[in-house]
Structure formats: C-alpha cells, structure tokens
C-alpha cells in the first residue's frame, strides 16, 4: 500500500517518507519546527527559532481557519511567504517589535507576504515585517482582510544609500479586494505608499501611523473608504485620493469603471510631510510634490473634515485633474480611456479642518533622486508651485485647485474667470480654522483646456491667470455629508 502525505497538515518536522525510501532525509535546515493542533480549525505554534522551511511548509499546507501564532523573536526569510487561497487564515505575532519577520537576506520571490489567491477572512496581527524586497504585504482579491497592529518598515537608508531600490513600492497593499481594515499599523520607508488600497471597496484605514514614505496613505480606484484618525508625517505626501485610467475596477458589478468615489478623510493629523520625493519617476506618485498634505486627483465625492493639517511646505489640500499628469490624455478616446474614467475631481467638500503653517516653501520639480539623477519633470508640482508663488497673497492658500474643468467650462488663457461658472466642479468649503485665504478660499489657475485631442500644451507661468472662487458654503451641499462605511460588514 502506498503512503500518501497530506499536503494539508504537512510540515517539515512531520514529513512522512515514502514506503520505499531507502534512507531518511533530514529536513533541509535543522531547527525548531512549527507544530499544529489536530483540532478544527487548527492552531499552529511557531516557536522562536522555527526555520523558514518549517514555517513555509506549514503555511503552504494550511487548512481553512488555521491560526499561526508566532512567538516573540526574529524569523529570517529568503523567499516570499506565499499564502494559500484558503479561507480564514490568521497570522498573529507577539506584537510589533516582538515578532519580527526579517527579509534582509531575501533572495527570491517578490515582497514579504503575498496573498493573491483570493482569500476570505484573512487577518494579520501583531508583528513587524521589515526590509522586504518589493512590497511588504500584498493581498489581492480578498473578501475581508484585516491588518491590525502590523508594522512594515525598511531600515536601510532611503535617501542616498545604495539600498533605496530595495524599499518596496507599498508597505500594506490590498488590491482588488473588499471589506478591508487597516488599523493601528505603523508603516515607514516605502518608496511608493505606506498603506495603499487600490481597486477595492468598503475600506477603513484608521489609527495608523505612516511616516517617511513617499505617500503615507493612498486610496486609488476605490470606493466607500473611511480614512480617519491616522497620523501621517514626514512623508512626501500625507494622504492621496487618486484615480487613474486603465486600472481595473474593483471586483464587483457595483462600479463600472476605475473611478474613486465616496471617500471620507477625517480627524487625521497630517503634518510636516516634507521628505524629498524618492519615488521611482515612472509612477504617478513621483508627481506628488514634496510638502503635500492631502491631494485628490480625479476623485469624486470626497469629504475632508476634522483634520489638523500643518507644516506641509507646499500645500495643505489640493484638487487636481489627471490631465495635469498626462496633458495629451483624451478622456473621450476609448483607446486611451477604456473604462470611461472622469479625469476631473468633483464634488469635494472640505470643512471644519484646522490649518497652520502650510505652503511656506513650495516644492515644484522633484529634482531629488537617490541615485543622483533627476526625478524628472513634475507638472503637478510645477503648477502648484507657480500658483502658490504667484504672489497675490502674503501667505499661501491652503486649498488649491489646478483649474482644469471639463467642457463646456472652457476659459481662454489669461482672462481671469470670464466664461467660467462660479463652481464648475462642485467644490465646497466651509468653516475651516486658520485657513489662509486671500479674498476667497479656493484658487484656480486657468490652463489651456487639454481634453481636446492635439499636441500637449506647455505650462508657462507667464501664461497663467488666477481666479479666486468664493466656494464658501454655510451648510452641507447636496449629497453631503457622505455616509460612513458600514463597519458592520468589516471582518
């Protein structure tokens, strides 16, 4: 009779040998082994000193509902931990800084933990994962994923050191998922975004500290997100709410395209996000000027309230169109815009925030690059810098708009606000504290309107004209306040 080994409960320490094997084969690396209970669901104990082979084998064969309890200690990995696509897995450590998954010696795979096989009810809790090659934790196509008290960090120097390429794009990276909670996490050093949630829906990002990344938190091509009570500091940009064309929409029928809708950014502390932008120049995040607090790009129905936004050298809050990043983009061309993304931000309500000391040293081009080269042209930064340095005010405006509006709101260059309705993109502003204002709250720079196919316009500060729009409202505009994310459906 042939013996079979169950993949489900296999671990190196319990590896059964075939009936015909002539010799015993020792495990590839000796050390403490993972042990799992035979209960349903199993609980696996990962003792201090457990080897990568033992841990990876146990995870590879995990049954639905398995909890892996990691002891305190440092666990070195050479390969990505790849999570099987079974439901209800929990990876729990003894706490941030207590259980450390160390990838400084990584030589294979991409990223630290990869869970891309469609997990339900997945939970990461109570550990540090550091120095991964690539992203920290990537989760794709999950239904219900929680990151609670997880620290993701890169300890090698981000600026100027030879290892900057080894800083992954994203720290915590759920994509194409639903019911996502990122809570009480600490993320630093990402060469793109600390906590990036993309192409997903029903999202809460709360009580996290994100620092020393290019972007602290980003919600992209997603809907129904609450971003609240986070501290975002010392990044290049504090919080981004973006949509980009040619992304896949979230994985359900509830949203026809890759728009970003219904995002609440509230009660966050967004301060001193002045780290030079060290992103790879290829990505859109490289376009975020250092010194940015909150930037919305091609986002709709965004409510920004109760935040304390201070000491960001370029701007506190900005609204931009995707056309700033790609002036030749024609949103009406199906080849360029197959999902029909609206490239303009609209329906943005900024109220009851506290601003202080923003815009004091606006950064235009991201000339910084860790390898000594240029980080490339930065139209968004140049535009906002020109706007902020325009000089019509003694202190920079806290809330600014790139001024690009959809048809029929086309204003010719240099005519101020002639021909442009007062509020073409439905921006609203109310009851903010200490906001720097010069006659109005939103300012706008008129650009050539670039949604018409043709050669891309250049942005020349001498061609700019500035308008001042009194977008002040005394009560919530239609559609606001936005509803809260239904926390009851979070895992």
């Amino acid at each position: 009779m042939l013996r079979r080994v169950s993949v489900v409960l296999l671990s190196a320490g319990a590896l059964a040998l075939g009936a015909c094997s002539s010799s015993t084969t020792p495990p590839p690396d000796a050390g403490a082994a993972v042990s799992c209970t035979s209960s349903v669901p199993p609980v696996c104990t990962v003792p201090a000193g457990a080897t990568e082979s033992s841990i990876s084998s146990a995870i590879a064969g995990a049954a639905a509902g398995t909890t892996f309890n990691f002891a305190a200690g440092t666990f070195p990995f050479k390969n990505t931990i790849t999570v099987p696509g079974v439901a209800g897995l929990t990876f729990k450590g003894a706490g941030i800084g207590q259980t450390i998954l160390e990838f400084a010696g990584q030589t294979a795979g991409s990223g630290g933990i990869s869970a891309t096989l469609g997990n339900a009810a997945l939970r990461f809790e109570g550990f540090t994962i550091q120095n991964t090659l690539g992203d920290g934790i990537k989760v794709e196509k999950a239904t219900g994923v929680v990151f609670y008290q997880v620290q993701v960090r890169w300890l090698n120097a981000a600026d100027g050191g030879p290892n900057y390429l080894r800083h992954g794009g994203y720290g915590i990276y759920p994509v194409q998922s639903q019911n996502v909670l990122v809570d009480h996490c600490d993320i630093s050093g990402a060469r793109d975004t600390g906590a990036y949630i993309g192409q997903s829906y029903t999202i809460v990002v709360s009580n996290n500290t994100v620092h020393d990344n290019v972007a602290g938190i980003e919600i992209e091509a997603s809907r129904n997100a609450d971003v609240h009570d986070n501290v975002s500091t010392n990044n290049s940009g504090g919080i981004l709410v973006f949509a980009l064309p040619n992304l896949q929409p979230p994985p359900d029928a509830g949203q026809p395209n890759d728009a970003t809708n219904y995002v609440r950014v509230y009660n966050n502390t967004i301060t001193a996000n002045n780290t030079p932008n060290f992103a790879d120049p290829s990505g859109s995040v490289a376009q975020v000027p250092a010194g940015s607090g909150i930037v919305m790009l091609a986002a709709n129905y965004v409510e920004v309230f109760g935040n304390t936004i201070s000491n960001n050298d370029t701007l506190a809050v900005a609204n931009a169109s995707y056309l700033v990043l790609n002036p030749s983009f024609n949103p009406l061309d199906p080849a360029q815009n197959p999902t029909g993304l609206n490239p303009f931000s609209s329906w943005v309500y900024v109220h009851d925030n506290t601003f202080s000391n923003n815009g004091g040293n606006p950064q235009g081009s991201n000339v910084y690059s860790p390898d000594g080269g240029s980080n490339g042209p930065n139209q968004l930064g140049e535009l906002f810098q020109a706007l902020i340095l325009y000089g019509a005010w003694t202190s920079a405006p806290d809330v600014i708009w790139d001024g690009i509006a959809p048809p029929p709101y086309v204003a010719p260059i240099g005519d101020g606000d002639a021909g442009v309705p007062a509020n073409p993109l439905t921006y609203y502003f109310a009851n903010n504290h200490n906001a720097n204002v010069t006659g109005s709250d939103w300012v706008n720079v008129n650009l050539p309107k670039v949604y018409i196919p043709g050669p891309p316009p250049s942005i020349n500060v001498n061609d700019l004209a500035f308008d001042f729009y009194p977008f002040q409202v005394t009560s919530a505009p239609a559609g606001f306040p936005l509803p809260a994310v239904d926390a009851g459906i979070l895992p």
């Binding site: 042939l2 079979r4 080994v5 993949v7 489900v8 296999l10 059964a16 040998l17 075939g18 009936a19 015909c20 094997s21 002539s22 010799s23 084969t25 590839p28 082979s53 841990i55 990876s56 084998s57 995870i59 590879a60 064969g61 390969n79 990505t80 790849t82 099987p84 696509g85 294979a108 795979g109 991409s110 990869s114 891309t116 096989l117 090659l133 690539g134 794709e140 196509k141 390429l165 080894r166 800083h167 992954g168 794009g169 994203y170 994509v175 194409q176 793109d192 980009l244 040619n246 992304l247 896949q248 790879d280 120049p281 290829s282 990505g283 790609n326 002036p327 080269g373 490339g376 891309p456």
Partner: protein, 341 residues
C-alpha cells in the same frame, strides 16, 4: 508496484500528494537524466519559460480510456487522472554537449475530481530520492554559461502556494504550457522516432479533436529565426515568460498589461502604456514599450534586472536570460512610432 523500480505502474494520484516522487511512477533517473516510466509520454514546447538556464524534462500521462480535448487557444482540456511532470536540472557547463546534470526538483501537477493540484519534489544531493517540498526552498547554484562565464543563481524551488500563483487562471489552478500552439512541433520520442506532438498524442489516444498540425496554431520558437519574424519570436518569448500572470485571468491583470500572443491591442501589450504600480520596477522609464527605444521601455529594464523587487517574472528567475533580453530589445528597437507623452 515497484516504487521507482522497473515494473511500476503510473498512478493518477488522489486528493493528497504522495510523499515521494517515485510513488507516482511517472519519471525516474536513468544515467543522470530524467526518463519517463513505461506508458508516460515526454513532450516539449516551442517556446518555454526561462528558469535560470535549467534543463527541463516534461511528461504527460493519462489513465487508459480517457483523453484530452483539443482547444485552439487555451490549455488543452485534460481529463481527470492526468498527471503532468516537469523536472528541473542544472548542467555543470552549458558549453558541453554531454554535461553533468544535477536534478533539483520535479514538479507534479495532477487533475483529480475536476481540479488541478500541484506539488514539487526536491531531489536529494545523492540524486536518489525526490521528496515532497511544499514549503519551497532557495537553492544557491553555480555553473558555467554558454559563453564560458561563471553564473551564480538563487534558484527557487517554489512553495505550493507559489505554484498556484503562476498557475492561476481566475483563482483556479491550471497548467500553463500545454496549449496547442506551444505543443505544435516535432518531438523525438524514446523509440527514436520523430513526430509532431499533436499527431503523436492523437495516435496514442491522449488527444481528441485536433486538426492536422498544419491547420493548428503554432507558436514561434523564440530562438529559431526560421520559425517566425522578430516580432513573432519576441512576442512568443513574452507570452511564455509573462502571460501566465499578465493576462485578464492572471495575477497581474490589475496592471492591464496583457502579453499573450493572442492580444491584438498594441496598448494592451505595452506599446506606449504607462506602468501601473511598478514602484521601483519602472526604472524611471515612461512606458512599457517605447517604439524604437529600449532604454525608454520598462520591459527590458525588468528583464535585465536580478533585483527581486524589479525583476520580471517575479518568481523563477534569478539570473538574466541574455539571449531573451536581446530578442526583446531587438524587437523594441525595430518598432517605429512615438508615444504622446
């Protein structure tokens, strides 16, 4: 059953994997090379995946009385009981015609109860026994390449979930290689005969519904200019190395970059397409493929890197495939046109 002896019978497996490779009775090591057991059919592909210069041996086996159904575009529709194996070995010196090969692993993917499952078996250093290794392992290797240069590789024996990561079609585990267009080629069989594989499989009862090979699609052989144009060979290379993830049903579908040879939209296969979420993998280059300009193109940047956060494919390559990189670079150089911004 002989467990690797001379008289075993191939086994279709079941819900769980055997502990050792010999229990499958699909392949064995004979004189330092992988040989199919009796009744097991070896096969080869027009353009295979590059795996750190590994030498590969592939086999297919099905229980008697069942066969795969031909499919013009997708992986053949294999019946329950099918067992595919793929063995990975490393030559000591790629210049030698009869190198010494060290076999590292044999992967088994088998179909049971309508679903595919996968596991890999790690060959021991004595080259006697291959034992299930679901957790994977990074294996440092060194050898001499075809130009006489020493190469050091960190070859990855994948964990079982890593198998599923590449063998993923809409969250269903699937074989990748055995598509009609990749199988449509001559193979030399153990009896010394050479025959087109579609014809041979049909004659052996492994395949039904296949047209004459001249009427079936055929993928170019990436390194044989007699089999296709530069573009056809470069796109065949990108399909075999990238399209398992870069397809609408693969893990990288979020990027919108689709690298199957069946993709007809130039933007979708990278022409003037801005990278999405590439992070450091963008290399500061504006688009995936800039016509006529490889140095402005992301794809060659990722093929020429061995940095795991940059290199593509993400799994299974730790050294540069210089010939493949050259092919893709040449193709991009040959393209004309310009990108808007």
């Amino acid at each position: 059953m002989g467990c690797g002896g001379s008289n075993c019978t191939p086994d279709a497996g079941g819900a769980t994997a055997f502990a050792t490779l010999d229990q499958w009775c699909q392949v064995k090591l004979v004189n330092g090379d992988i040989a199919p057991e009796s009744g097991v059919t070896p096969y080869s592909l027009n353009t295979p995946l590059f795996s750190d210069y590994a030498i590969k041996r592939r086999t297919v086996w099905m229980p008697s009385g069942v066969s795969a159904a031909y499919d013009d575009t997708n992986v053949l529709s294999f019946p329950d009981g099918t067992v595919l194996t793929k063995s990975f070995g490393f030559a000591d010196d790629l210049r030698k015609t009869q190198p010494t090969i060290t076999w590292v692993e044999t992967r088994v993917i088998w179909k049971t109860a309508g679903a595919w499952q996968a596991i890999t078996y790690r060959w021991d250093s004595a080259q006697k026994t291959a034992t299930a290794n679901p957790g994977g392992e990074v294996v440092p290797l060194s050898f001499i390449d075809a130009n006489g240069n020493p190469v050091s590789a960190n070859y990855l024996v994948p964990s079982s979930p890593q198998c599923a990561q590449c063998h993923n079609s809409s969250e269903v585990l699937q074989p990748i290689g055995p598509k009609a267009r990749n199988l449509n080629r001559d193979n030399v069989y153990p009896d010394g005969n050479t025959q087109n594989q579609l014809t041979y499989w049909t004659a052996k009862g492994l395949l039904t519904g296949a047209p004459d090979p001249s009427a079936a699609p055929k993928l170019a052989v990436w390194n044989d200019p007699s089999t296709g144009t530069l573009e056809q060979r470069a796109r065949a290379y990108l399909e075999s190395n990238c399209a398992h993830c870069h397809s609408p049903t693969g893990e990288a579908y979020t990027t919108g970059l689709f690298l199957s040879t069946l993709e007809t939209d130039p933007f979708s296969y990278g022409i003037c397409k801005h990278p999405v979420a590439a992070g450091p993998g963008g290399g500061g280059r504006p688009v995936d493929i800039y016509p006529g300009n490889p140095t402005l193109s992301v794809i060659p940047f990722r093929l020429e890197s061995t940095e795991p956060s940059i290199a593509m494919p993400q799994i299974g390559r730790s050294v540069v495939d210089t010939a493949g990189l050259q092919l893709v670079t040449d193709w991009i150089s040959s393209l004309t046109g310009t990108c808007g911004s």
